[in-house]
């Protein structure tokens, strides 16, 4: 049985014929991951992951805990740089430029990618200060521009109507769902190209989750969104493409509709039908 498992995992990721636009189309690709390996010390966390991420659509990463989906996501804006003993191999490009090139400006890269974390992490500042934090680190002091950004971002994050009267109050007084939408507002305030979301709803109740999902739906088209989720219903609701990962390997990648109705790999089928994971 162990041998059979290894065979399944070692097989290259499955792309169905209908997924040709995901696999082949070059011009529609925002982020291109090619043969990407990653080690934490001696243990390998990602094994030869290759996936082109389509521009302007929502791509979901699903898989059981510890399968490497968050690790992959955090490699995209080099958040993993903070970890000691990390080693990578392979390439990852954003609009054709290698993210891991030695001369790349990591801060500039992160400015092009907003990120939303698993737990809402507003800063201990006022709501408005939270939203304009990306501009503040750029040294923007133009009050009109800041005010305009606050409104635009909060409207974009569907939070404006709830907080417009208390922008000067501490962001820590907001509810969990509001805090997470504030973090989304903060992520889009810097006008990024890509939005990385690391299980953005896992700490929220169903109503707040529904609001965030609705928001993701509204944001599609403006941003390339990569969302990691544990929740398969969520993946099927919000994403256009879905990648299924297991034990550090990309098992199957394709259109969400097809993955959930007609998966090619047996592991994918087992996972989405709830047989394990």
């Amino acid at each position: 049985m162990a041998v059979a498992e290894a065979e399944v995992i070692a097989a290259p990721p499955v792309f169905a014929a209908t997924d040709y636009h995901v696999a082949t189309s070059k011009d529609g690709v925002a982020l291109d991951v090619k043969d990407f390996n990653l080690w934490y010390g001696a243990s390998q966390a990602l094994h030869g992951v290759s996936m082109p991420i389509q521009k302007g659509v929502v791509t979901a990463l699903i898989g059981p805990s510890g399968c490497g989906k968050s690790t992959l996501l955090r490699c995209m804006n080099r958040m993993n740089d903070l970890i000691d003993n990390l080693r990578i191999q392979g390439t990852m490009t954003l609009d054709g430029r290698d993210i891991y090139a030695p001369n790349i400006d990591v801060i500039g890269l992160r400015k092009r990618m907003g990120m939303v974390f698993q737990k809402p992490n507003p800063f201990p500042m006022s709501i408005a200060e939270n939203v304009v934090y990306p501009l503040k680190v750029d040294g923007v002091t133009d009050k009109a521009l800041l005010a305009e950004t606050v409104e635009r971002s909060l409207r974009g994050a569907a939070l404006w109507n709830e907080v417009k009267d208390r922008l000067k109050e501490s962001a820590l007084g907001l509810s969990g769902g509001q805090q997470q939408r504030l973090c989304i507002a903060r992520a889009i305030a810097g006008d990024p190209e890509v939005l990385l979301m690391d299980e953005p709803c896992s700490a929220l109740d169903p109503i707040a989750t529904a609001k965030i999902e609705e928001l993701i739906d509204q944001l599609r088209g403006q941003y390339t969104i990569v969302i990691v989720t544990h929740n398969m219903q969520q993946a099927s609701r919000v994403s256009v493409n879905t990648a299924f990962m297991y034990l550090g390997r990309l098992i199957e990648y394709g259109e969400t509709k097809r993955i959930f109705t007609n998966p090619v790999a047996k592991r994918t089928q087992d996972y989405i039908t709830g047989r394990f994971g």
Binding site: I107, P124, Y133, P134, V137, G176, C183
Partner: protein, 579 residues
């Protein structure tokens, strides 16, 4: 997984069921004995601390309350007058016992040779060469508290206990019996005004003139250093300086004449005192700081004296080898030094901790540095004092003197102990506390906050400045509070780097540059040591030890409360940030 258990297979039951666990829980499992032990340890600690505070506060608070003056007639016909400090029982040496009359001998022998005696503060040091006297019970004939006795606090020689015989006001003599309190108060007030006027003239006007004269003298010395001794150019350049010196000397003459005039008025107002044995003492009225009619005062009169003494203690300078007067310079010195220490240690410790925690690659070297920093906290503080004296005062201060104050040499300016060097030494002493606390505070900042900031495109430094440091500030403040409490109570190193017994000049005054960090200063902690163990009469200094201790505890308490209030304000900003 491999064994398929058939439904019909017989279930194997062990022959005898052995109970592994007991369902009772014994005493140690309940944990009560540990509760008692822990609670007992806490109670013991609290009792010790409260007992200590009660001792200090009771003695400190009661010190200034006027006590009645008892007149004790002794069997040999003399009298002893004064306030009783305390009673004690002691064993009479047999040689002394043998000298006593047989009846008394028998009584003392019945008490196993023990005798009671009382310590009386008799004052009148100038008459008897002692401030305190032990009076044994068998010497006492009678005890009374007659009216009309005064406890007179003086500028010199300590208190006088006795009566007022007469007051001589500009040649007009008023006898003690005819003296109304109003007349005495007015005459005394005027005399004290003259005394203060004299002090102002000497300290203020003459002090200023001396300061300027000193500057001119230094300017002359600078010229000599620039041109070389005996150079003809000196005379040319020195002419304006000499003119200014001449002008200052003329000013000095005017002030000196004023001083003489006030002095002459002062010595025409004298007071003659007699003690209970009829010995007389004449002194200028201005030499008396306070008359306390100890046996005649009502409650309000006594309270007036009590608060008057407190005010003198807090606002005045020390007298009589620090056993009398006030401790204002010491309060000020302690406060300024502690504040300066915090100002120095805060950036020093925080920057070190920031580097260790945020920038340095965590590894063997950083571990060694961290362990060394922790060990620094265990170095005896006197060693820091020696280091401060050698490195700060002699090396750094000597260097500064050579560079900037060559004209004052060989008199050191910075090259000796001073408040700056003391603050730096204490900062060095307390920096481990700040580093450890700051590192803990930095480590406690959630990773998600840093990641959130970095993901927004902030650089590492921007993240630290905008997110990490504000968030860690309450923890850093805790470290500073601990450092402050430790530094304010430290005495040993200060004795080497700038604390002195008496420093009438405060480190801050009206002369440019207003803050004189090179000056030596007084410190409450050292004051306690000095009064308690280095003064002429430890019995006289004892109450002052308690009062000064109380004051030092109070000062540290107030500074800590201030810092804690700042910290809780900072903390409130982060309320509700936990999930």
């Amino acid at each position: 997984m491999t064994t398929n258990v058939s439904v019909n297979a017989p279930v194997v039951v062990p022959a005898a069921h052995i109970r592994v666990r007991s369902f009772r829980s014994d005493l140690s499992a309940h944990g009560e004995p540990f509760n008692w032990a822990l609670g007992g340890a806490l109670a013991f600690g609290i009792v010790l601390i409260v007992g200590f505070l009660l001792l200090v506060f009771w003695n400190g608070i009661s010190t200034f309350y006027p006590k009645p003056i008892e007149v004790i007639r002794t069997v040999d016909g003399t009298s002893v007058a004064g306030s009783v400090r305390r009673d004690e029982v002691f064993r009479l040496p047999t040689a002394q016992l043998a000298d006593l009359p047989p009846a008394q001998q028998a009584r003392i022998r019945a008490d196993d040779g023990y005798v009671k005696r009382r310590l009386v503060q008799i004052g009148n040091y100038d008459l008897y060469n002692e401030d305190f006297r032990w009076v044994s019970e068998y010497q006492i004939e009678s005890v009374s508290t007659p009216p009309g006795l005064y406890f007179i606090e003086r500028v010199e020689w300590g208190p006088f206990v006795g009566r007022i015989k007469q007051v001589s006001l500009d040649g007009r003599v008023v006898a003690g019996e005819a003296l109304t309190p109003q007349v005495l108060d007015r005459a005394h007030g005027e005399a004290r005004d003259r005394w203060w006027r004299l002090r102002d003239l000497e300290r203020g006007d003459i002090g200023t003139i001396n300061h300027h004269l000193d500057e001119e003298r230094l300017a002359l010395r600078r010229l000599e250093l620039r041109f070389g001794q005996g150079d003809p150019r000196i005379a040319e350049a020195a002419r304006p300086i000499q003119e200014r010196i001449g002008k200052l000397q003329a000013e000095y003459k005017v002030v000196a004449d004023q001083v003489t005039a006030v002095r002459q008025a002062d010595i025409r107002n004298t007071i003659t005192l007699t003690d209970v044995n009829g010995r007389e003492k004449e002194l200028p009225l201005s030499g008396v700081t306070r008359f306390v009619a100890a046996n005649d005062l009502g409650l309000f009169g006594k309270l007036g004296v009590y608060f008057g003494r407190w005010w003198e203690f807090l606002a005045d300078e020390p007298r009589e080898a620090n056993t009398e007067g006030g401790v204002m310079p010491a309060i000020f010195g302690t406060f300024v030094m502690t504040l300066l220490m915090v100002i120095i240690v805060a950036p020093f410790g925080v920057i070190t901790a920031l580097y260790l925690r945020e920038y340095a690659k965590q590894g063997r070297i950083v571990s060694i540095v961290r362990i060394s920093v922790n060990n620094l906290a265990g170095v005896p503080s006197i060693v820091y004092g020696v280091f401060g004296l050698g490195f700060f005062a002699y090396l750094l201060g000597g260097g500064i003197d050579g560079l900037f104050y060559p004209e004052r040499l060989p008199n050191p300016t910075f090259g000796t102990g001073g408040i700056l060097w003391a603050s730096l030494t204490l900062a060095l002493l307390t920096v481990p506390v700040v580093i450890v606390a700051t590192e803990e505070a930095l480590a406690a900042v959630p990773r998600s906050m840093r990641e959130g900031s970095l993901a927004c495109g902030a650089s590492k430094w921007q993240t630290i400045r905008n997110i990490v440091l504000p968030r860690a500030m309450p923890g850093i403040m805790t470290g500073l509070i601990l450092a402050m409490a430790r530094g304010a109570g430290e005495v040993a190193p200060l004795m080497l780097v700038g604390v002195v017994k008496l420093a009438p000049e405060l480190p801050i005054d009206g002369f440019f540059p207003f803050i004189h960090l090179e000056r030596s200063f007084m410190h409450l902690g050292f004051h306690i040591y000095d009064v308690g163990f280095q003064s002429r009469n430890s019995e006289a200094g004892k109450p002052m030890v308690f009062v000064t201790t109380m004051l030092l505890i109070g000062l540290i308490f107030v500074m800590n409360i201030g810092a804690i209030m700042i910290r809780s304000r900072l903390k409130r900003r982060f309320a509700g940030s936990q999930f």
